[in-house]
């Protein structure tokens, strides 16, 4: 199913003030609007739209050698199918003459899209794929703004290391997609070095929604800490099963899910105490060198989407990809793909999202993860301590006393 969703931003080319206005910079992005990743795809799109709104309506364009160019992002719906992301990206480049690509949602889709960027020698910046599988193939044209998968639960383990009593027995339940396995492998290597003992370690097929059998197995090992490397639907299923089967760990952490509003609305009070790593939260205190501050960013999100809630890290990730591309084009002083690619490799700039800089593989390992907890139905940031806006509630109350 191919639906050209929207070309946002103005196509206006009229002159304004003293600065010249050049032709639009056309950017293509294949993104899930339907299928299992429709939710996250929609959030990513919002993030890109915040950036486009800023470039076109606040900045009046990206300045390239004194000439302002507005941006036009062409979206295509990949239907949450990674092979479609690649096909549509190719179409965007050849038929729609896109000059640059922004990445799709998810590691699998990003990995296939990266092949297209590589083949066509067009820079692709993405803020929604963190798996090592995207970056360990020696690609030269793909740049990821978010922290690598291996850092996802590292912050949680560092934080747990300082807790008293220490939750030393760890149960790991992991989905078997490349991103989740990256996260789990990192836990398997890092946890023992911090004195944690992994007492249960099981992989389940990606997308499994009946996990009560596994939760029952995990319970029989009596873990202090339950770590899930998976996705929103699995996080909800595990949390429900843990309550039903009275698995009372001191700490529950899920890689993906709790940071979205859906987790709290699906689970109500049962969502409390849950811990989750996050690429970004509105509590972070980075000093941006350009673009909005965190407060302004939240305000822009609420204004553009008539929302009351705060943007989550999927939204911010979408925005960050646009920012990296914008700054690289400006630094390159050109829209020539090769020059922009070189500028991306040298990029080092702090934004509301954190530092944007890429290592030799194109991955951003300069930006730390933060750790969130749900307290009374609200997301608060609890780690690292210098950005925390609340103290961790620990240990989690037994299910019977909630």
């Amino acid at each position: 199913m191919t639906i050209a969703v929207a070309a946002c931003g103005g196509g206006a080319t009229g002159g304004s003030g003293s600065t010249q206005t050049g032709s639009d910079i056309v950017i293509g992005e294949a993104l899930a609007a339907t299928g299992q990743d429709a939710k996250e795809g929609g959030l990513t799109k919002q993030g890109v739209q915040i950036w486009v709104d800023w470039v076109n309506n606040v900045q009046h364009g990206i300045t390239v050698n004194g000439v302002k160019h507005k941006v036009q992002v062409l979206f295509e719906d990949d239907g949450s199918k990674p092979d479609q992301s690649a096909t549509l990206d190719q179409k965007l480049l050849t038929e729609d003459k896109a000059q640059f690509l922004l990445g799709p949602y998810g590691s699998s889709a990003t990995a296939t899209a990266a092949v297209i960027a590589e083949k066509n020698q067009v820079p692709m910046v993405e803020g929604e794929g963190a798996s090592a599988a995207i970056f360990n193939k020696g690609y030269q044209w793909t740049f990821g703004t978010i922290s690598p998968a291996s850092l996802y639960l590292k912050g949680v383990l560092d934080m747990a290391d300082g807790l008293s009593p220490k939750p030393s027995k760890v149960a790991v339940l992991s989905a078997d997609d490349s991103f989740s396995l990256d996260v789990t492998r990192a836990v398997e290597q890092y946890a023992p070095t911090k004195g944690f003992q992994i007492v249960f370690d099981q992989k389940y097929p990606n997308g499994t929604t009946n996990l009560s059998g596994l939760v029952s197995q995990a319970k029989s090992t009596n873990p202090d800490m339950v770590l899930n490397s998976g996705h929103l639907a699995e996080a909800v299923a595990i949390n429900k099963a843990a309550k039903q089967l009275d698995l009372n760990a001191k700490l529950f952490a899920f890689t993906v899910g709790p940071s979205t509003p859906d987790f709290v609305s699906s689970l109500g009070n049962d969502a409390n105490y849950v811990i989750s790593p996050s690429q970004w939260t509105p509590a972070v205190k980075y000093k941006p060198q350009f673009f909005y501050s965190v407060q302004e960013y939240v305000a822009a999100y609420r204004r553009l989407f008539h929302a009351q809630d705060e943007p989550d890290y999927h939204v911010a990730g979408g925005t960050s990809a646009g920012l990296a591309l914008e700054r690289a084009i400006e630094n390159a002083g050109s829209t020539d793909p090769d020059k922009v690619r070189t500028a991306l490799t040298r990029l080092n700039v702090t934004t509301f999202f954190g530092t944007l800089a890429f290592n030799g593989q194109g991955q951003n390992d300069k930006k730390p993860m933060v750790v969130e907890q749900i307290q009374n139905g609200k997301h608060v940031t609890i780690y690292p301590l210098d950005v925390a806006n609340a103290k961790i509630q620990y240990p989690a109350a037994p299910w019977s006393q909630r």
Partner: protein
């Protein structure tokens, strides 16, 4: 490993598969339609339950009759207006049309409900009682009982009412059924409506233990297929056995020694292949 709990959890999950399989089996057996929109209809049931729960404060189990009535209506109308036009056409046409319906229903749900994850979490949804070392979650037990009750009602309709006789007659020989005065259009629509009502119940049960999204029904079409093949086509009792067995196999496969949960699908479908080899008509199916 608490094997007792694993077995109980498997049987409880089986209840959901019974509900999922009943409607699929009926429509397949009588209309010879493999309904690819079945999972989407399960989700319609799930969303209806969620709406009733969130906006009407109606308990998911109390709301079951509403699910049944609404989904029956939708199913009846779909068959009467759309599918009846191709029901005598080759198999591929009904395949195509139900595939199209699946796309339409899923995308309509996306438009109306957005891709947000929803779940029905009642005040008792985490409560359980202990039988020795085994914890039995109430909500899963009630799901199992609801599925069995649904199976009993379906059995009664099919075997003890004139409507059921008509449905069975059409399933056996539609031309002969027409000769004795049975309205094919009406009977087809009734059958599809009953199938949809079962999907509605299944969706309601599913919404209580997992998060639902417009696309979350997809795997249930496949699972319904497997349940029906395992148990055998055309009998309520066969679906009950197929559903219970599939639930049990799925949970036990998660704890297969030396293999790990990653193999659960391989094991579950391996059992299916084995059944097909040894008893192609299914465990309780009539001889082909």
């Amino acid at each position: 490993m608490n094997w007792g709990e694993q077995i109980v959890l498997g049987l409880l999950l089986g209840g959901v598969y019974v509900a999922v399989g009943l409607g699929f089996s009926l429509v397949w057996g009588v209309l010879n339609i493999v309904n690819l929109a079945y999972g989407a209809m399960v989700m319609v049931g799930g969303y209806l339950t969620w709406l009733l729960f969130v906006h009407g404060g109606i308990d998911p189990f109390v709301g079951l009759p509403i699910d049944v009535v609404v989904l029956f209506g939708i199913g009846y109308a779909l068959q009467y207006v759309v599918i009846n036009r191709v029901v005598r056409a080759p198999f591929l046409y009904t395949f195509l049309i139900t595939f199209g319906l699946d796309l339409i229903i899923v995308n309509a749900l996306l438009l109306v409900f957005k891709p947000d994850f929803r779940s029905v979490t009642t005040w008792y949804s985490g409560a359980a009682f202990a039988v020795g070392p085994v914890l039995v979650p109430y909500i899963r037990l009630w799901s199992l009982l609801a599925a069995w009750a649904l199976a009993a009602v379906m059995w009664w309709i099919l075997n003890r009412t004139r409507t059921g006789d008509a449905i069975q007659a059409v399933g056996a020989d539609r031309d002969a059924a027409q000769l004795v005065g049975i309205s094919l259009r009406r009977t087809y629509a009734l059958t599809f409506g009953l199938g949809a009502a079962c999907a509605g119940v299944a969706g309601a049960l599913i919404a209580t233990f997992q998060a639902i999204t417009p696309t979350a029904g997809e795997p249930y079409t496949l699972q319904a297929f497997v349940v029906v093949i395992l148990g055998g086509l055309g009998r309520v009792s066969a679906t009950v056995v197929g559903g219970m067995m599939f639930g049990l196999v799925e949970v036990l496969a998660q704890s297969a020694p030396h293999l790990g949960a990653g193999y659960q699908n391989a094991i579950a479908f391996g059992v299916l292949v084995l059944v097909l080899l040894l008893r192609p008509q299914g465990l309780l199916g009539r001889t082909l």
